[in-house]
Symmetry: C2
Subunit: 134 residues, 2 copies
Amino acid sequence: MRKYISFLVVISALVGGCTADKPEIRVQRFGSVTGLKPEKLDYYKELHADAWPAVLETIRECNIQNYSIYLQQLGDEYYLFSYFEYTGDDFEADMKRMADDPDTQRWWKETDPCQLPLDDDGVWTTMEEVFHTD
Amino acid sequence: MRKYISFLVVISALVGGCTADKPEIRVQRFGSVTGLKPEKLDYYKELHADAWPAVLETIRECNIQNYSIYLQQLGDEYYLFSYFEYTGDDFEADMKRMADDPDTQRWWKETDPCQLPLDDDGVWTTMEEVFHTD
């Protein structure tokens, strides 16, 4: 969730539920993918099974919610697929805020070496949404 | 969302939001993947850009919500990644109900030939969740 973000075109948005008792929340959904080094598979899973509280707190402070990461082997390669929802009104500013957080920077020093980005645009590649229903 | 479901182990659950004014809803998240035939890419996108209302209604009736499908090319192959949430209390029964719906069966007659399942267990392969934060 960094450099590629600056190139990002948000391709979908939906109105959050639970609107009866509070203002509507605009939710932007993001599906992303990156590679995972086979030799780092166990360490990546171990890290994420017990993610650092300060990192989780920053995720929430940056208006990211309902954030999941999935692991899948395709052929001989391993891939990570993420899904999250953004509820703020300035995605780039919130992603910069996240990138400036010292704990998040330390976390990324652990996770980045595990990953094999698909291209030079960033750590994660945003996928094209082709379907959504609330 | 069919045959493989019967082998499915639900690896995660969370309490849905919006609990202040109604009972808590247990939400099970599913991330899945399948292949897409390159020659069917345009037709698959066209179908899902205007999905049949009866199919969407059945999805909701079967307690599926917040359902997205993403498209991504990895190497020379195309893949579809889905994320959805199940809010019912009998997933296999709801998936059978979906599979028994005539409109859904007609829909799958259009979509199944577009896809390249990863294995013989079903149309979609469930991925391993390695991280989640609400």
